[in-house]
């Protein structure tokens, strides 16, 4: 276990997330891709905190911020999905042609 190994794992998670977010049509699946990217980000942040900061707690703080970002992404994402479905009956991105109400 080393910083390099941790970063490779987090890069792999991020890469899978990028693939998912770009390739999926369904909104919720796109959100899953985004979450997976953030998953990789958290791992990288904590890895740096563990390996490179000498235990500076600000590293952990950054991870907490990423967690908050994840929660925000999920909350707004779900709200938008529900609202878009209610208004446009769309559950995949192909059904949305224009970004207006």
């Amino acid at each position: 276990m080393s910083l390099e190994a941790l970063l490779v794992v987090s890069a792999a998670l991020f890469g899978v997330g990028v693939y998912g977010a770009l390739s999926q049509q369904s909104f919720v699946m796109i959100m899953m891709g985004l979450e997976l990217m953030l998953n990789g980000a958290i791992l990288a942040v904590v890895a740096f905190w563990w390996g490179s900061t000498g235990g500076n707690p600000e590293g952990q703080l950054l991870a907490v911020v990423v967690l908050a970002v994840m929660a925000i992404e999920a909350a707004i994402g779900f709200a938008l999905v529900a609202n878009v479905y209610r208004v446009r009956k769309a559950d995949i991105s192909e059904k949305l042609r224009r970004l207006r109400h």
Partner: protein, 429 residues
């Protein structure tokens, strides 16, 4: 001694889990089995070892019998009580006689199954897909893409509007006729969206030959008020037992059942104590606090406690001289919802006990019209359960499933009650 034998030796002493299929004339007998420590009535066939088929069924064939039988895990066996063995389960053990004989057979059969699972009843239905597999598409799913075709022969769900303005999938399912959540024999074809009941159709009625209880006898000849009122109180306690179990209070339900079995007019104190326990269980605040499902006005006519719970002063006992002498006053509640029906029946239990205690040897009825525990019984009219079953679709739609179940039980339905309460002479003997 191997592990199997050791387990079998212990399992002998287990209460026998029985899944009941109950037709006409056997409901009270089967319900009373709950009081026996040797037997455990379970709500789903998956938790049973024995299938108990009791009572009379319309034309010999029992709907859903084969499906329920095959759902019981191996080792399993079937007992047919007071009726004929149907062709579907030829291996069923036939028992007549009273409760003791039945219990003895159930326990013996259970021990037999535990000791030697090879004697378990074979499946009735072939183990094949309900709908044929369609080998279309690259994965045999019957269509192309994510939303194409009819995967496994089942069409994908239809969308339907929701009260929230969101169109979501609708799940059409048939629930019953033999499931612990609904009265025995009630089959509902339900369209569910999440756990929201959107549409309900009531399945085929299981009405059998006419009843022979004291109330239908009273349509022909006068009966003593004391007997009638005691039986009415008993009926309501049995209803309470069932309804309490569904609300998660099976132990309190057992108490009601036990009391109903030994009930005399001198048990007023015990009944009051039980009703106080029911009230203290928070059932009105926690389980029955939803308004809706009201049965009031003209649709409630003739429905006895259901009508009176909706403020309809409808009680054949008012017109009987015997009851007038006793100072009978109808109890009324106003709202007509599930909670009001509970309160109505709970109040009528004590009222009936009181009447029974003071009645002496007065007699009442006998002229074709009787106030039964579920409502008005006439010589040729539809029975109260039949009337209520017609109301169900309208009452249930829009409720969550849990509320729908509470509502069904609050109406006290017996789907085996005959369509027309013809009273024949057998009851008189």
């Amino acid at each position: 001694m191997g592990v199997r034998e050791a387990l079998a030796g212990l399992a002998r002493w287990s209460p026998v889990p029985v899944f009941p299929i109950v037709g006409g004339g056997a409901r009270d007998l089967v319900r009373d089995l709950r009081l026996r420590p040797e037997v455990e009535l379970v709500a789903t066939p998956r938790h049973a070892t024995l299938l108990l088929v009791a009572g009379r069924f319309p034309s010999g064939a029992i709907p859903g019998l084969a499906v329920v039988h095959d759902q019981i895990p191996v080792p399993r066996a079937t007992v047919r009580w007071n009726g004929e063995v149907s062709d579907e389960i030829s291996s069923a053990r036939l028992v007549g006689g009273d409760e003791e004989d039945l219990i003895a057979t159930l326990v013996a059969l259970h021990r037999e199954m535990m000791a030697d699972p090879s004697r378990s009843g074979p499946p009735i239905l072939p183990d094949v897909d309900a709908v044929e597999w369609r080998g279309v598409g690259p994965y045999g799913h019957g269509g192309k893409g994510m939303t194409g075709g009819t995967p496994y022969g089942r069409p994908l769900a239809e969308r339907a509007g929701d009260r929230d303005g969101i169109e979501l999938d609708q799940l059409p399912v048939t629930i019953g006729p033999w499931v612990g959540a609904l009265p025995w024999g009630l089959e509902l074809a339900v369209k569910l969206q999440g756990d929201l009941v959107q549409e309900v159709e009531v399945g085929p009625r299981l009405s059998t030959d006419p009843p022979t209880d004291v109330f239908s006898m009273a349509t022909r000849k006068p009966m003593t008020v004391a007997v009638l009122e005691l039986e009415r109180a008993r009926h309501h306690l049995r209803w309470l037992a069932d309804a309490l179990s569904i609300q998660g209070l099976s132990a309190l339900g057992l108490r009601a059942l036990r009391l109903g079995k030994i009930l005399t007019p001198h048990h007023q104190r015990e009944v009051r104590r039980l009703l106080a326990m029911v009230r203290r269980s928070g059932i009105f605040g926690l389980a029955l606090n939803r308004a809706g499902g009201e049965v009031t006005g003209s649709q409630a006519k003739g429905l006895g406690p259901v009508a009176r719970a909706g403020g309809v002063d409808d009680d054949a006992r008012r017109d009987e001289p015997a009851y007038r002498e006793l100072g009978f006053q109808t109890i009324l509640h106003q709202k007509g919802d599930a909670a009001a029906r509970w309160r109505q029946r709970m109040a009528e239990v004590t009222q009936s006990l009181d009447l029974s205690d003071r009645a002496g040897d007065r007699t009442a009825f006998g002229a074709g019209l009787v106030e039964g525990p579920r409502g008005r019984i006439t010589a040729n009219g539809p029975s109260p359960s039949v009337v209520v079953l017609d109301l169900l679709p309208q009452l249930l739609s829009g409720l969550e499933w849990g509320d729908a179940v509470s509502l069904v039980w609050s109406l006290d339905i017996d789907p085996t009650e005959s369509v027309e309460t013809h009273v024949d002479n057998r009851g008189a003997s």
